[in-house]
Symmetry: C2
Subunit: 126 residues, 2 copies
DNA sequence: TCATATGGTTACCTCATGGATACCAAGCCG
DNA sequence: CGGCTTGGTATCCATGAGGTAACCATATGA
């Protein structure tokens, strides 16, 4: 059995949608996508775009996204070296889902924050 | 359109969209939503729907979602006690974004898995 | 009296992850 | 020679997420 197309078992930890969700939910992934959405950027550009990310963690994030084919890493063998990261076509299609989340958040953020305050108030004197 | 609400600073760790993404990317949140999408369920029902989740972690997940106003927790003071969880209206609106992710995953899962295999092959002999 | 059922809580442990810091390689240039 | 650049690694450590197992409160009913 080589391919078992759709019909995901969403209850399984193997389900691709879980994989995607966890990628998107990663602390730095959305910021990398944001930094790259307008075109290729160099490592240190992305790093300063984002701010607060250590090189190790940024490398980890970029490698994971490269591995999944969501961005490309191009080394220009110059001196000093230049490395550019760029969203692939597949990676770019994830910008849509990101927008959906952003829209949802924009619409409901106030309710959620209010709910948190209210909940904390209620649970203090339990 | 007429209102330009907060205009989120997406680069900030405080940005609500980050908060939402991390909720959705949580290991058990999607499964809880799936379990509750057709109506209220009891604690032990959700637990066995999901499978593999320990009561502690399920409680943590449910509390976090309750705190954010995405679901309600109703205690029926019977003996033995009965507790039902149900998506709120706000919570139900998140099913849409979840579908978007699921659709994206369904469309691109094969490419991603293939990219992973290929990448692993290439990096083995570095 | 004691088991049973529900819906948890609590203490404890482990291991992966994130982060801070320091360091490196290559080559040009002064 | 030695310093400058970029794009990372190497190393260590603290944190915390998540899991295991034990326990609890309550009332019913055998």
């Amino acid at each position: 059995m080589d391919t078992k197309p759709p019909a995901f078992d969403v209850m399984s930890p193997e389900c691709p949608s879980r994989l995607i969700l966890q990628r998107m939910g990663d602390k730095w992934t959305p910021l990398v996508f944001l930094a790259l959405q307008s075109g290729p950027r160099r490592f240190s550009q992305v790093r300063s775009d984002i701010g607060g990310v250590t090189p190790k963690v940024l490398t980890q994030t970029l490698r994971a996204l490269e591995r999944d084919g969501l961005l490309t890493r191009t080394i220009y063998p110059e001196v000093p070296p230049r490395v550019e990261y760029e969203l692939t076509d597949v990676g770019a299609t994830l910008l849509g889902p990101f927008d959906v989340i952003r829209d949802w958040a924009q619409t409901h953020a106030a309710q959620i924050l209010e709910s948190r305050d209210s909940f904390d108030g209620r649970t203090e004197h339990r």
